[in-house]
């Protein structure tokens, strides 16, 4: 039994659930390198399994694109969703600071894993269509090597047409391109392990999880990827998605054990109520749960401690 399995925490239909936090590291003076290290160590010490960070290459002053995740299930009553994002001219807007930014995901992954010993780091999610497959294949192997295999690569197709245009990528065909790139990465990494292409040797590639819950996303997860990572679903929606995933796995000659499923959500409501939504997700058979809590520089340690206590995470602080 691995040390991971031996630890306590949230139990679900498939065993122990990994619990991760989604947060932002933006290179601002308030969230400097010292803060990042302390944030990561606090998460590890309080019993969380991972830290996940979103990706936006650019933000924009004004969006015509609609933010697709404005509604989040309530912690106390996860069958009900509430909308929290601002709506302009009938279009839900992404919530950002005036001068929002995000550090490069891969360098941040190495920094956060370098500050800890057990904590995983994941992308929530990386905009795969914006990448050249022959370059990101090497980058991802290097992240895996420098994090001792503690990096998970959540990938998605994004929602901002403004961002895709600025990144020289066709927005309308991004789903097809994402699928093409997943296959390209699988092929390159397979050739690399056979030493047929010039890529770093002896490194296990990161687990690739497909973000989103569209039928295409679930199909990609079931047929080509190492996991599925939906966001802000009610338990009923998650259950439907898992059933669809099983169907795709079966048709691809795979089983549920071949994929890692992480349900992510924005924490809405009282922290004390988080156990309700977490237990509902856990009972459906997910392998991990990620929560975005919008923590501040001043309150993150307290919030982590309270959530850890609410969920019964067994970090060093609880022992």
């Amino acid at each position: 039994m691995s040390g991971h399995e031996a630890r306590g925490g949230v139990q679900g239909a498939r065993g122990r659930i990994e619990v991760g936090l989604v947060d932002l590291f933006d290179g601002s003076p308030e969230r400097d390198l010292a803060f990042m290290g302390e944030f990561a160590r606090t998460a590890e010490r309080t019993g969380f399994d991972g830290i996940w960070m979103p990706e936006h290459v650019l933000f924009f002053e004004k969006y015509d694109s609609v933010y697709p995740y404005p509604e989040a299930p309530l912690a106390a009553d996860p069958d009900v969703k509430e909308q929290h994002n601002k709506v302009v001219e009938g279009k839900a807007q992404v919530e950002t600071a005036l001068d929002q930014g995000l550090l490069d995901l891969f360098q941040t992954a190495v920094a956060m894993c370098g500050a800890t010993t057990r904590l995983r780091f994941g992308s929530s999610v990386l905009l795969l269509p914006l990448r050249n497959p022959r370059l990101i294949a090497r980058e991802a192997l290097t992240v895996a090597a420098l994090t001792d295999g503690r990096f998970d690569m959540g990938v998605g197709v994004g929602w901002s047409a403004e961002e895709f245009e600025a990144c020289e990528c066709d927005f309308k065909t991004r789903g097809k391109r994402c699928e093409h790139l997943i296959h390209a990465l699988n092929d390159l990494w397979a050739l690399s392990s056979a030493q047929d292409v010039a890529l770093p040797q002896g490194v296990c590639p990161p687990r690739v999880l497909i973000g989103g819950h569209s039928p295409a996303a679930i199909r990609r997860a079931g047929t080509a990827a190492g996991g599925w990572y939906p966001w802000n679903l009610t338990p009923a929606e998650l259950s439907d998605g898992l059933r669809a995933l099983e169907g795709h796995l079966e048709s691809a000659g795979r089983t549920r054990d071949d994929v890692h499923v992480i349900a992510g959500f924005r924490g809405v409501g009282e922290l004390a109520d988080l156990s309700q939504i977490v237990s509902r997700y856990a009972d459906l058979g997910v392998d991990g749960i990620n929560v975005s809590l919008r923590m501040t520089v001043d309150n993150y340690a307290e919030v982590m401690a309270e959530v850890a206590q609410t969920l019964g995470l067994e970090g060093e602080d609880a022992r």
Binding site: D26, E61, V110, E165
Partner: protein
């Protein structure tokens, strides 16, 4: 004349990648090296080296002073905004020590996206460098070119001090160099990758001719295989090279670094 290092990020046998780089980087700084360069994209493409940006991240975290550089970034195979963020983040972690070497030639197939032809690598490099500099320096970036366009873009982190990175044009044919210099107006540096001494002299003449009259001093960097550093010193000094860089085919052991700078 400064002495620098460039290497493929392949760890020495028995060492983990991060430890090998951190150990070598600390030894390089203590040993008096001026810089650490990641190899160019075209060299990396044909080796088992790890990624240059992430390798340099490890160098940055293990050092305080030495300059960090990329010896030949092929902007023609990368979206500008994606590369701008990677470089700005590295500069942030390095506290403003990053410099950018540019490869203006046709990119090798190994790093070109299948089905995407790069008909004008200098043109796309110029377009993308301009776009990156806009994102690094403007609060709300607006840029329009044949390759990349955006408006109202918010890019953070920026390079430290919201500055343009010091750029080094890697030696290529005289017409390409001339076009690059003319379009940019000025360049900070020029770099020769493993040129034979005789070819180096000719290359220096070409870059001198490519510069417009009145152009300020251009830093000249010469990359040579590590075993050739000692033998190349006198020739480099004679030719007016500002920095001689020892190229290793893997992360060097501290003892090898001492040998290179002795």
């Amino acid at each position: 004349m400064d002495i620098g290092i460039a290497c493929a990020f392949v760890p020495t046998e028995g060492a983990t990648l991060g430890t090998a780089i951190a150990t070598a980087a600390a030894a390089a700084e203590d040993g008096g090296f001026a810089s650490w360069w990641g190899m160019g994209d075209r060299e990396v493409a044909r080796t088992a080296s790890h990624d240059q940006i992430l390798g340099l991240y490890c160098v940055a975290r293990a050092t305080q002073r030495i300059r960090l550089g990329l010896a030949g970034d092929a902007l023609s195979v990368r979206p500008a905004a994606v590369r701008a963020k990677q470089l700005a983040s590295l500069d942030w972690f390095a506290n403003g020590r990053l410099e950018l070497g540019l490869d203006l030639d046709t990119p090798p197939l190994e790093i070109s996206e299948p089905g995407v032809e790069c008909a004008d690598p200098v043109g796309s490099t110029l377009d993308r460098l301009g776009a990156m500099e806009t994102l690094w320096t403007e609060r709300r970036g607006a840029y329009r070119s044949n390759t990349v366009s955006f408006a109202g873009a918010i890019a953070h982190p920026k390079t430290v001090g919201a500055r343009r990175l010091r750029t080094h044009a890697r030696h290529t044919s005289a017409p390409l160099l001339r076009r690059f210099v003319e379009s940019r107006g000025e360049i900070d540096g020029w770099a020769a990758w493993k040129l034979e001494p005789a070819a180096l002299i000719g290359a220096l003449e070409e870059i001198a001719q490519a510069l417009p009259s009145g152009h300020g001093p251009v830093r000249r960097t010469w990359f040579v295989d590590a075993p050739l550093v000692q033998a190349s010193r006198a020739r480099a000094a004679e030719a007016g090279i500002d920095e001689l860089v020892a190229v290793f085919d893997r992360v060097p052991h501290p003892a090898e670094l001492q040998e290179a700078i002795a």
